[in-house]
C-alpha cells in the first residue's frame, strides 16, 4: 500500500467516524424536538415549521402514484382525516420528496391540481424535490406520518395505520394511528402509540 493510499484510507476512516454520530442522530426521536425546516409550498410561499408554533402539525409524505397512497386516497380515507383535523385547527402538511423525474414528482400547479381532483384538504403541500425535509425526518415510505406538538416536539412517527397493505379492503378494519394520536392530543392525553413501522413505497429520493 502506498503512503498516499494509506493516508487516504486513514482520512476516509476518520471522516466515517466523524460522520457516524451525525448519521445516527439524523432520525428524529419521538419526545425530542422535531427538525426545523423551511420549504416552498405549492403556491410558491415559504413555509417554516416555526410558523405554526402553538398548533399541532401533521406531516404526511405522499406520492400520488404509489399504490399505498392510492389506497388511502382511493378509499377517501386520507381526505376525510385531513378534513376532520384541519377543521379542528390542526395544520396538515403533505410533503412530496420525489426527486425530479421520479414517480410522484410534481410542480406547484400539479400539486394543486392533485389536491383538487382528489378532494384532498391539506393546509398546504410542501415541495421537497431535493429531499432535504425527507432526509431530516428520515421519511422512508409513502405514506409516512409525523405529528409535531405546538411546542415543536415530535409526538408520533410511523405508519398511517396497522394494516400494511395496498388493499382497499383493509381500510375498514385498520386502526388509524394518526387519528388515534390526534384524538389523544386534542384531549390533552399522552399519545399511547408513539411510533410504528411505516409501510408503503420507498420515498423516491434522488439516487
Amino acid at each position: 500500500m502506498s503512503t498516499t493510499r494509506r493516508i487516504l484510507l486513514g482520512l476516509s476512516l476518520g471522516s466515517a467516524l466523524l460522520a457516524l454520530p451525525f448519521a445516527a442522530s439524523a432520525a428524529p426521536q419521538v419526545g425530542k424536538p422535531a427538525p426545523a425546516f423551511s420549504a416552498t409550498d405549492a403556491d410558491g410561499k415559504t413555509v417554516k415549521l416555526e410558523d405554526f408554533k402553538g398548533k399541532t402539525v401533521v406531516l404526511e409524505w405522499t406520492n400520488h402514484d404509489c399504490p399505498f397512497v392510492m389506497k388511502h386516497y382511493g378509499g377517501q380515507a386520507m381526505q376525510a382525516l385531513q378534513k376532520k383535523w384541519t377543521a379542528a385547527g390542526v395544520v396538515w402538511l403533505s410533503v412530496i420528496s420525489s426527486a425530479p423525474g421520479e414517480q410522484g414528482a410534481v410542480d406547484g400547479q400539479g400539486a394543486n391540481r392533485l389536491t383538487q381532483s382528489r378532494g384532498a384538504a391539506p393546509t398546504t403541500v410542501l415541495l421537497d424535490a431535493p429531499g432535504t425535509i425527507g432526509r431530516a425526518y428520515d421519511a422512508k415510505t409513502t405514506p409516512h406520518m409525523y405529528i409535531v406538538s405546538g411546542d415543536g416536539t415530535l409526538l408520533y412517527q410511523g405508519g398511517i395505520d396497522d394494516k400494511p397493505s395496498a388493499n382497499l379492503e383493509d381500510l375498514k378494519t385498520a386502526k388509524n394511528y394518526v387519528d388515534a394520536a390526534l384524538t389523544e392530543i386534542a384531549a390533552g392525553k399522552p399519545v399511547s402509540v408513539k411510533t410504528s413501522k411505516p409501510y408503503g413505497c420507498s420515498v423516491k429520493y434522488a439516487s
Partner: protein
C-alpha cells in the same frame, strides 16, 4: 382486484402521470406458480410445496422483513378439509438499496417453501386440489401490488406405494433448500452500546482474511436501521456486528433473531453462507411484541442445572467403566488394608482423591477451552485425536494390567503407577490416584459423554467448567462416601487372599480397554503405525518383566536387566514418535467417529490400489462453507447409509493447520483452498463435487458409483 382499482383510479382521476407504472399489469412483472415436491401424496405424510416467483429483470419482491419499505408476499391457502400448512420457509434475502434506503428481498427468482400436511384419513384415488391466493408487492423503483390465484392438483397414492419425488421439480427444490439459512451452530449475544446494538456471534476459528462480507437481516422490522452500515469485526473467538439501533425502537430487545449472511473466500471463488440466529418465530403466529419478557436467563440456568445434573450422573456411571473400575477397586483395597487408620485421616484421603479428580477434569476442560479460544476446531475427546495420547494411554493401562496380573510384583517401580500410589500412605498418593482415575477415564468419557460435554463447551467458560466439575464430583462420589463414613469401610470384607484373586480378575477389564484403544489407534494411523503401536505393547511387557527379573538378579545381572528395561522404554518413546509420523496429517479430525478416517495420501493410495470407492473431504475448522456442507449434506443419515451401502471409505483431511500433503492434493485439482470434495469410483480419475453440497447432489453422485460386488464388510472404512 387491486390491479383493477389501481387502473380505475388512474382513469377516473385523469392524472397527468407520464410514468403511470402503478397501472402496469403485474402479470408481466411476476410469474407465480405452485409446485409440489412429490409426484403424489399420501395420507398423513407431510410434503413440501413451493410458491415460485419469477420476476422481470431488476424487479424485486420482499423478504419477511421487507426493510425500509415494501411488503412481504402473503399466501392465503384454500385447502381440502383436514389439510394444514406450516409457515413460509423464507429463503436468504439480499440487500436491495433504493437511494439511501434499504430493502430486503429477492430479485430474478425465488421459491417460498411451505410444508403441507394431509389428513391421516385421506382416501387414495381422487386427486386433491391445493389453492392459494398470493398477494405481493413487486418493485423496481416504483411499486406495483399484484396477486395471483395458484392451483395445483395432486394425485393421492395408496398407502404402502412409493410416492417419490417429482423428477421435474427435483432441481428446483434442491435449489430452494440450498437458499434457506441453516441453523446457526454458534450462540449469539446481544448488548446495547449507546445507539448501537452489538450482536456477538461466538463463531470460533473464523479467519478475517477469508471473509468477504457479512450482512445481518433481523426479523424485527424496527430493531435496527436497515440502511445503516453494519460494522463487522472478526477474531479467533467471535464475530462482532455493530448495528445502528432503530429510531422507532424503544427498549433494547433481549435478543435479535435474524439471518446472518457471510460471504467467504474459498478455494475457487466466493461462497455465500446463511445462518438463522435465534429462534425463528413463526410469522403472524405470535404477535412479535407480545412477549418481550422472555428473558433468556432462567432458561440458561435451567439448562445449566440439567446439564450439570446429567454430567454428575454420567460421572457416577464412569466408576463402573472398565477403565476406571479397576483403579477405584485398588484404591478401595488399600483402604481395606489401612482400615486401622484414624477416621479423620481416611476422610482426608477421600478429599484428596476428590481434589485430584476435580483438578484433572478442570485442567482438561480449561485446556480445551483455551485451545478453542485460540481458534482450534476441537471438541471433547480431543485428547484422543492424537495417536500419541491413545498409544500412551494404552501403554499406561497395559502396564497397570500387567501389575494386576502379577507380572510385576508390588514394589516394582513400574507397578508403582497403579498399585504403588495406593500404597503410598501420603495424601499426595490419594490426590494422584484421583488424577489417574480421570486420565484413564477419558477414553470412556469420549464415547459416552461426548454430546453432553460437547453441549457444555458451547456455553460460556464458566458454565463449561461447572459442568466438568459436576462430572468430576460424580466420579469422585463413591470413594468420597466410603471415606466419609468409616463405618462403610468396616463393612467391606477383611483383607485376605481373595484380594489377590480380585486383582487378577480386575486386570481383564483393563486389557479390554487396551484392546479398545488399539482399535481407536487403528482408525488414526496406517498399518505401519499400528504395528509400531503393537510392538510398543510388547516393549512395555518386556521392560516390566526384565525389570522385575533384575530385582532378583546378582550384582552383574541387576544393572544389566535394569539397563535393558530402560533401553526398552527408550525404544518405546522412539517407536511412539513413529506412530505419530504414520498419521502424517497432523489434524484435528475426529477420526474414528461416524465411519470417518483421517486422510493420508498413503491411505488413499492403498484404497485406490484395492480399487475401492473413496470419498475425500478436505475441510478446515475455519472454513464455514465446509462446516455447513458437513452438517447439511455429509453427516446426514441418508448420506451415511449410502456410503455404507456402496462400501465407500470416507477420508477427511483437516487443513486447519498447514498440511503439505493436503495442499498438494488441492493443487492437483486446481484449488488453492478448501473445501474440496472428491469421489473416487475405484477406477480412474475422481469426480470433483461442487463447493456447495446438497444432500440430493451427494446422493446422486454416490448412486452413480458401481454397485459393490465384493463383501461390503471388507471395507476398512466401515465401523461397526
Amino acid at each position: 382486484m387491486t390491479r383493477l382499482l389501481a387502473l380505475l383510479a388512474l382513469v377516473l382521476l385523469g392524472l397527468p402521470s407520464a410514468r403511470a407504472q402503478g397501472g402496469k399489469p403485474p402479470a408481466d412483472l411476476v410469474l407465480a406458480s405452485l409446485v409440489a415436491e412429490p409426484a403424489a401424496i399420501r395420507a398423513g405424510e407431510p410434503f413440501t410445496v413451493g410458491i415460485r416467483m419469477v420476476m422481470k429483470p431488476h424487479w424485486h419482491v420482499y423478504w419477511r422483513n421487507p426493510g425500509d419499505s415494501g411488503l412481504p408476499p402473503e399466501a392465503a391457502w384454500r385447502l381440502p378439509p383436514g389439510f394444514s400448512t406450516g409457515p413460509i420457509q423464507w429463503p436468504t434475502p439480499s440487500r436491495i438499496p433504493v437511494s439511501h434506503l434499504m430493502n430486503f428481498g429477492f430479485e430474478n427468482e425465488t421459491v417460498l417453501l411451505t410444508e403441507v400436511t394431509p389428513p391421516a384419513d385421506l382416501a387414495p384415488g381422487k386427486p386433491v386440489r391445493l389453492a392459494a391466493k398470493l398477494d405481493y408487492l413487486v418493485c423496481e423503483r416504483e411499486c406495483v401490488p399484484g396477486s395471483a390465484e395458484l392451483r395445483l392438483d395432486l394425485p393421492v397414492a395408496a398407502e404402502g406405494t412409493s410416492t417419490g419425488a417429482n423428477p421435474q421439480n427435483r432441481a428446483l427444490f434442491a435449489q430452494a433448500r440450498a437458499a434457506l439459512p441453516t441453523a446457526s451452530p454458534w450462540p449469539a449475544r446481544l448488548s446495547a452500546e449507546g445507539n448501537r446494538l452489538v450482536l456477538q456471534v461466538e463463531a470460533t476459528g473464523l479467519r478475517e482474511d477469508r471473509i468477504r462480507s457479512v450482512a445481518f437481516f433481523p426479523y424485527s422490522e424496527t430493531a435496527i436501521e436497515h440502511a445503516a452500515k453494519q460494522d463487522v469485526s472478526v477474531d479467533a473467538a467471535s464475530l462482532r456486528l455493530s448495528l445502528a439501533r432503530g429510531s422507532a425502537s424503544e427498549a433494547t430487545p433481549a435478543e435479535l433473531p435474524g439471518v446472518l449472511v457471510i460471504e467467504e473466500e474459498t478455494g475457487d471463488g466466493t461462497v455465500r453462507n446463511a445462518f438463522a440466529i435465534g429462534e425463528a418465530p413463526a410469522p403472524a403466529a405470535v404477535p412479535a411484541a407480545a412477549s418481550p419478557t422472555a428473558a433468556p436467563e432462567p432458561a440458561e440456568n435451567l439448562t445449566l442445572l440439567s446439564a450439570a445434573g446429567l454430567a454428575f450422573l454420567g460421572g457416577l456411571l464412569l466408576n463402573l467403566m472398565p477403565c476406571v473400575f479397576p483403579i477405584l477397586s485398588i484404591k478401595v483395597l488399600s483402604l481395606v488394608k489401612h482400615s486401622g487408620e484414624p477416621p479423620g485421616r481416611v476422610r482426608l484421603h477421600g478429599l484428596a482423591y476428590t481434589a485430584g479428580v476435580l483438578a484433572a477434569f478442570l485442567a482438561l476442560a480449561g485446556l480445551l477451552i483455551a485451545l478453542k479460544g485460540a481458534g482450534a476446531g476441537i471438541g471433547w475427546g480431543y485428547q484422543l485425536q492424537s495417536p500419541l495420547v491413545v498409544a500412551g494411554l494404552a501403554y499406561l493401562l497395559f502396564a497397570m494390567g500387567l501389575s494386576l496380573s502379577g507380572v510385576v510384583h508390588v514394589g516394582g517401580r513400574l507397578a508403582g503407577i497403579g498399585d504403588g500410589l495406593t500404597r503410598r500412605a501420603g495424601l499426595q498418593g490419594s490426590f494422584f490416584t484421583g488424577v489417574l482415575a480421570t486420565v484413564v477415564a477419558t477414553p470412556c468419557t469420549a464415547p459416552f459423554m461426548g454430546s453432553a460435554v460437547g453441549f457444555a463447551l458451547t456455553q460460556s467458560a464458566g458454565v463449561s467448567l461447572a459442568v466438568f466439575a459436576s462430572l468430576g464430583l460424580g466420579l469422585a462420589l463413591p470413594f468420597l462416601i466410603l471415606t466419609t463414613w468409616p463405618a462403610a469401610v468396616r463393612r467391606l470384607p477383611r483383607p485376605g487372599a481373595w484380594m489377590e484373586t480380585l486383582k487378577g480378575a480386575l486386570a481383564f477389564p483393563i486389557y479390554a480397554t487396551v484392546a479398545w484403544l488399539v482399535w481407536v489407534l487403528a482408525q488414526q494411523v496406517g498399518p505401519t503405525g499400528l504395528l509400531a503401536g503393537l510392538i510398543g505393547l510388547v516393549l512395555v511387557a518386556f521392560a516390566a518383566w526384565i525389570w522385575e527379573r533384575a530385582g532378583d538378579a546378582g550384582p552383574v545381572g541387576r544393572p544389566l536387566g535394569r539397563g535393558a528395561a530402560l533401553a526398552a522404554l527408550a525404544a518405546l518413546i522412539g517407536l511412539s514418535l513413529s506412530i505419530d509420523r504414520d498419521r502424517l496429517s497432523a489434524s484435528g479430525v475426529a477420526a474414528g467417529a461416524g465411519g470417518v478416517e483421517a486422510f493420508t495420501q498413503a491411505r488413499l493410495d492403498m484404497l485406490l490400489a484395492e480399487r475401492r470407492p473413496v470419498f475425500v473431504n478436505m475441510t478446515a475448522a475455519w472454513c464455514i462453507t465446509c462446516q455447513v456442507n458437513e452438517r447439511t449434506a455429509l453427516a446426514t443419515d441418508a448420506v451415511k447409509a449410502a456410503f455404507r451401502e456402496r462400501g465407500v471409505t470416507y477420508l477427511k483431511g483437516d487443513w486447519t493447520n498447514q498440511n503439505p500433503e493436503i495442499t498438494r492434493l488441492l493443487e492437483r485439482h486446481g484449488r488453492s483452498g478448501v473445501p474440496l470434495y472428491l469421489l473416487y469410483s475405484g477406477a480412474g480419475e475422481p469426480t470433483v463435487l461442487p463447493q456447495i453440497l446438497t444432500q440430493g447432489a451427494v446422493l446422486a453422485e454416490i448412486e452413480r458409483l458401481p454397485k459393490p460386488v465384493t463383501d461390503r464388510s471388507a471395507s476398512l472404512g466401515q465401523l461397526p
